[in-house]
Symmetry: C2
Subunit: 239 residues, 2 copies
DNA sequence: TCAGCTAGCTTACGTCGTAAGCCTTGATCA
DNA sequence: TGATCAAGGCTTACGACGTAAGCTAGCTGA
């Protein structure tokens, strides 16, 4: 009506032939968050991106909140579908954990604006811990450990220690990456780092080192240390 | 006008004699978040709680976002003002780190709805890492370590490892505590844990253990392990 | 006394999530 | 073929939100 029937465009835009579905909505939401951060995901904006009115999205999604849950589910399903993140015949338990850890890290770095959601939105049950926050994941993880000699206590302990490790390291790595883990994003880096450091001599002196990015090495080293600890737990039990 | 001049209350509510100030606004915001979660902090609601119109808050605060930054600053200042979290004459470096860790944990558990903000809002600079996310904190932390024999590299390394450790453990502990780290809070725990576990035998079997809360012990043990690792770094350097 | 400032209030705008209901189109079936 | 119907769009509308702009009452100090 307004200006859409520009005669020069017989079928200018894709002119949706096939109807939208939930998967497309979720995918578009992920793209939008990847590009502009979670605060930019509004139903109207998402509709615009899909050439659809905001209200039409509700044919495919119950609410914005469940859409966000869908985004998270999609991301961790993507991770779950990565064969690298599953136990192999030839694996030792530590090979397995290393591959899972690296898979999660890849996943987090691929979607730095989504990861804070994965980290902080309430999980389905309080004992399901981000970032391994789906039942399939918990099941797969526990099973893999138990088939490699972890008893019940050690497996659960490992689940908790491993998720804590992942969350701490990756949330900070992703945040340092400039992800707008919070509301506002880029434009207010008013001065590239116009902090008054005069009263903080140690910070001032160490700032070059503080800004160095050694995330990958530190992740691996900390992981290695965790694995050593878990080996004790596995063979000697808790305490 | 509406119903506020109930004659039975000559001065029913405090009837503000002294004007509001920024500190009171921040304090009220913290209370509101503590009670109802961050999603419940709107300028209008906050105004209501302070018997003031929403717009009046802008006399004391630049925007909702800077108010949130103020909330975070207040929380970590509270932590900084706790003498338990600072180096003592009699301390070894590990005594110090243990007390800081426990201080942060106390702080997080005292404000479980605020901690996710502390964890995920963008810090002033990318190398300032939650939850020790103020310049005074970084300075104090680095100085304390260096006065105990950490060289520059080891001190910075420790800052990073320590913050990762705190963030991972405490964010998950606070989340399990039922904090609404995300938008919605309590009412939709429709069924106390109505998850279909039929297809997840390991989860099903281990669920009692998964729901056990051993956060305190695990925090301490993981901390102890971290300290051992740091001891190596302190005495032998990195790598 | 009176100018000026402070800390409130009022109004208004644009955006948000979403409830309710309408319209078009293509498939189903008599 | 024509009637029926559901799916998947669209329109309108409501209340809450953040906040820009401007108003005003009452205190301060000259």
């Amino acid at each position: 009506m307004t200006k859409s029937d520009d005669p020069s465009s017989l079928r200018a835009e894709p002119e949706r032939r096939t109807p939208l579905d939930r998967a497309q909505v979720v995918r578009a939401a992920i793209e939008l968050i990847d590009e502009h951060g979670a605060h930019a995901l509004s139903m109207r904006r998402l509709g615009r991106r899909l050439n659809v009115e905001a209200m039409s999205l509700y044919k495919h999604v119950d609410s914005r909140d469940t859409l966000l849950d869908g985004v998270i589910a999609a991301i961790i399903d993507e991770l779950f579908d990565d064969p690298e993140t599953h136990l192999r015949e030839t694996d030792s338990w530590s090979d397995y954990l290393v591959r899972v850890a690296h898979g999660v890290r890849r996943n987090a770095l691929a979607h730095p604006n989504v990861f804070p959601l994965v980290a902080t939105r309430p999980p389905e049950a309080p004992w399901i811990r981000p970032p391994l926050r789906s039942l399939p994941w918990v099941e797969s993880f526990l099973l893999s450990l138990r088939t490699h000699g972890f008893d019940a206590d050690a497996a659960v302990y490992t689940y908790r220690a491993f998720t804590s490790f992942l969350l701490g390291h990756l949330l900070l790595e992703v945040a340092a990456l400039g992800a707008d883990t919070g509301p506002i994003a880029s434009p207010e880096s008013t001065h590239p780092s116009g902090l008054r450091l005069d009263d903080y001599p140690n910070v001032q002196e160490l700032r070059p080192k503080l800004t160095e990015n050694a995330a990958a090495e530190e992740f691996d080293e900390s992981l290695d240390n965790l694995l050593n600890r878990l080996q004790d737990v596995r063979t000697h039990g808790l305490l």
